[in-house]
């Protein structure tokens, strides 16, 4: 009696675990960042891709650092992130085949409406960051080695601030994703650097608003690349390359440009811009 | 698969059981042979329960030798025991019996007939689907008896089988014991009830401080006790 039940249970588990294997037939895994997922971009463009090619895209959204590591380990077929120097190193190390620029969005400096650092309305990121440090305004840092974190560190550097040395109690590293950083900033009325896409689809804003935007140094370039089948032979080369090709095709680029939240375009395709 | 009928006689030869430095059994020698039931009597702590467990093969003596039909270390295939407080398995009445029959190696297709036979023997026909743990004390005792008989034992040990029962339940259990004995099964029972010993047993073994003081046919034991301890015990004066 007991043995029969065990057999049934094992059968059920075998069935359950076998079904994803079957479903994997025409699907690829894409390691990407939270911003592309949380902003709803994938929800908009992937159904279009599937309708055209029949390929199921499974998106694992992680911080850029973790996403790149996922690609390096061979646990994804395609990498779609925003940290150009890390992406180039990924390709140079032989883990990626070739990096293609896809689109950009921009970072925005978010802060409380009361704006204790007095940076509201500016377009100069350097000035704003200098003011934050001088006024010791509470600032939430991702602190998770993500693309956004890297961009933030670059901005401190550009403002000639050695944040590792100059940080005080006002500088708070939370080591979490964009959403968690925004939630924390909202709860403590702090300043935070966010990508515009995540900010626009973020709902728990509290007293926060965009204070500084539009600086060239705050542009955020996305690149896509196939994980190198020479390193990881199981990579679905044809299906993965199909996604890469579609993203940089005229059709894919238009799909990206068409995605709007509240009437506002979030991502700006630039696959054809050399050196992006 | 039945073991050959090699359980009897059960011979305990100079058996000691020590717990720490305390001797529960002290170089005790006794033989349980074929025939009428044997009653083990003696004051509390005299070693009755321990002797039953030794003879059943549940525990090994610290020193001395136990043989069943002349052999040592015989698995308890044709021995059965009714504990003083038998534990009902968390199953129905038939569930308990089926379990015992399966444990005794009775073939599946012969079990149901045996269940009916055993329930009739102990007077529990009609109780089949009752949860065993919700039976009364006397009913539990009789179900435990049926369970013990499931393996068709050559010898049945009883450890104060009626200690906590009222007179009516006691009588019904004694009736079953008589029926069991009449089937040729050797019964060895520990009891505090001298009346019960007289009613059931053909032979009395008096234990005192871990030793067998006197072994005698029932009539002679009560009419002409040979030892001082036996005389005092029958008179109710031997307390420890």
């Amino acid at each position: 009696m007991l043995t029969r039940r065990i057999v049934i249970a094992i059968g059920a588990i075998a069935l359950l675990t076998a079904s994803p294997a079957l479903a994997q037939d025409k699907s690829i895994v894409v390691a990407s960042t939270t911003s592309t997922q949380d902003s709803g971009l994938f929800g908009h463009i992937l159904p279009l891709f599937k309708a055209k090619t029949g390929i199921d895209v499974k998106v694992v959204s992680q911080g850029t650092g973790q996403a790149i590591d996922t690609g390096r380990r061979g646990d994804a077929d395609v990498l779609f992130v925003h940290a150009k120097s890390q992406e180039e190193k990924f390709v140079a190390d032989g883990f990626g085949v070739k990096r293609f620029p896809v689109m950009y969005n921009d970072f925005v400096l978010i802060g409380p409406k009361s704006d204790p650092a007095g940076i509201k309305g500016g377009t100069d990121a350097i000035k704003a960051f200098t003011a934050l440090k001088d006024k010791a305004a509470v600032f939430i840092s991702r602190g998770d080695k993500s693309g956004t974190h890297a961009a933030e560190l670059d901005l401190w550097k550009a403002a000639s601030i050695d944040i590792a040395k100059d940080k005080g109690a006002w500088y708070r590293e939370i080591g979490q994703g964009m959403g968690a950083a925004l939630n924390t900033a909202s709860a403590s009325n702090a300043y935070v650097l966010s990508d515009r896409a995540t900010w626009l689809s973020f709902k728990n804003r509290g007293d926060l608003e965009i204070l500084v935007a539009g600086d060239q140094r705050m542009f955020n370039q996305y690149g896509v690349m196939l994980v190198n089948p020479a390193k990881h032979p199981h990579v679905k080369q044809d299906l993965g390359q199909a996604l890469v090709d579609w993203l940089i095709s005229a059709e894919g680029q238009k799909a990206i440009a068409d995605y709007k939240v509240g009437g506002e375009q979030l991502f700006f395709p630039n696959a054809t811009v050399p050196g992006a | 698969m039945r073991a050959p009928d090699t359980e009897l006689p059960i011979v305990c030869d100079s058996v000691s059981v020590l717990v720490g430095k305390l001797a529960i059994l002290d170089r005790l020698s006794v033989t349980f042979g074929d025939g009428a039931p044997t009653a083990l009597i003696g004051p509390n702590g005299s070693g009755k329960t321990t002797l039953i467990r030794i003879a059943m093969g549940l525990i090994a003596p610290t020193s001395g030798r136990v043989t069943w039909g002349g052999r040592e270390a015989v698995p308890p295939l044709r021995r059965a025991i009714l504990f003083q407080r038998p534990v009902m398995l968390r199953r129905s009445v038939v569930g308990n019996l089926r379990y015992a029959l399966a444990a005794a190696g009775i073939a599946r297709d012969r079990r149901e007939a045996r269940v009916i036979e055993l329930l009739a023997l102990v007077g529990l026909a009609g109780f089949e689907d009752r949860p065993a743990r919700k039976l009364s004390g006397g009913e539990q005792q009789r179900l435990a008896l049926a369970r013990a008989l499931a393996r068709d034992p050559a010898v049945l040990f009883l450890d104060e089988p009626t200690a906590s029962l009222d007179p009516a339940a006691t009588k019904s259990v004694e009736d079953v014991i008589r029926a069991v004995s009449a089937r040729g099964i050797k019964v060895v029972t520990a009891t505090h009830d001298l009346g019960q010993a007289r009613r059931l047993a053909g032979e009395i073994v008096l234990l005192h401080r871990g030793r067998a003081i006197e072994t005698a046919p029932t009539e002679r034991f009560f009419m002409q006790p040979q030892t001082e301890e036996a005389r005092r015990f029958v008179a109710g004066d031997l307390l420890l």
Binding site: A21, R73, N204, H234 | R90
Partner: protein, 230 residues
């Protein structure tokens, strides 16, 4: 899931995405309970019934492992199943199977430790009878597990509760892939990171309702079973 919908609206409108998530959560956690029971119950019974040197240490470790952090389990399974890991060729990372593996590891100690206690208590009660009936070691374990089954249901529920509630392990090994490895807890984590706290909280209540329903069903089973088995 539509962005503006509340959890209640999703439930009332029978949102297919929500039901797929609920279904996957139940499938993963219940499968993990079954796997963990197949490993943990016999192991717990074995420890309950045997005496060996170092047994106290095994029990202490088993009890301590009940507090295994899900993130650590997730990470270990991730490294194991990653394409670059020892079992990478199985291709299980980012699949429901990987989530079942992680949750199984997470709750096996819970089931083993709690069942060890339950079975040991019953063993002290049964040992003489089973010895008298000449029941061998395997038979003893089977008997004790079977007869303790109604108490062990509570043990399995503790394991299920832990599995259904954890997010740390499944989000690492499952990847929270929409429509494939997204469970109730990873969906809650996602909605929280998107700042949609009301939806996240609403999903939390849906999860709570499911866990309550599973517990109620098990409790009813236990009641009815005990009526008949005593």
């Amino acid at each position: 899931m539509p962005d503006q919908a509340s959890a209640l609206q999703l439930v009332l409108s029978g949102d297919p995405a929500l039901f797929a998530i609920v279904r996957l959560s139940l499938l993963v956690s219940l499968s993990a309970v079954v796997c963990a029971a197949l490993i943990g119950l016999p192991f717990g019974a074995l420890v309950a019934l045997t005496r060996f040197p170092g047994r106290a240490g095994v029990i202490v470790v088993l009890n301590a492992l009940m507090g295994l952090p899900p993130v650590v389990v997730g990470l270990a399974v991730y490294l194991l199943l990653s394409r670059s890991g020892p079992l990478g060729s199985w291709g299980l990372l980012f699949t429901p199977a990987a989530m079942i593996v992680a949750q199984t590891i997470l709750i096996t100690p819970i089931i083993a430790a709690l069942s060890r206690q339950t079975i040991e208590d019953l063993w002290l009660e049964y040992r003489d009878e089973l010895a008298a009936m000449n029941v061998g070691p395997a038979g003893r374990i089977a008997t004790l597990v079977y007869d303790a089954r109604f108490s062990l249901i509570t043990t399995l529920l503790a394991g299920f509760g832990r599995a259904a509630a954890e997010v740390g392990a499944v989000i690492i090994v499952g990847g929270n892939i929409d429509g494939f490895t997204r469970t109730m807890t990873t969906a809650i984590a996602l909605e929280t990171s998107k700042g949609d706290l009301p939806l996240a909280l609403g999903l939390g209540f849906v999860l709570l309702a499911i866990v309550v329903a599973v517990n109620a069903a098990a409790w009813g089973m236990k009641r009815v079973g005990e009526q008949y088995a005593g």
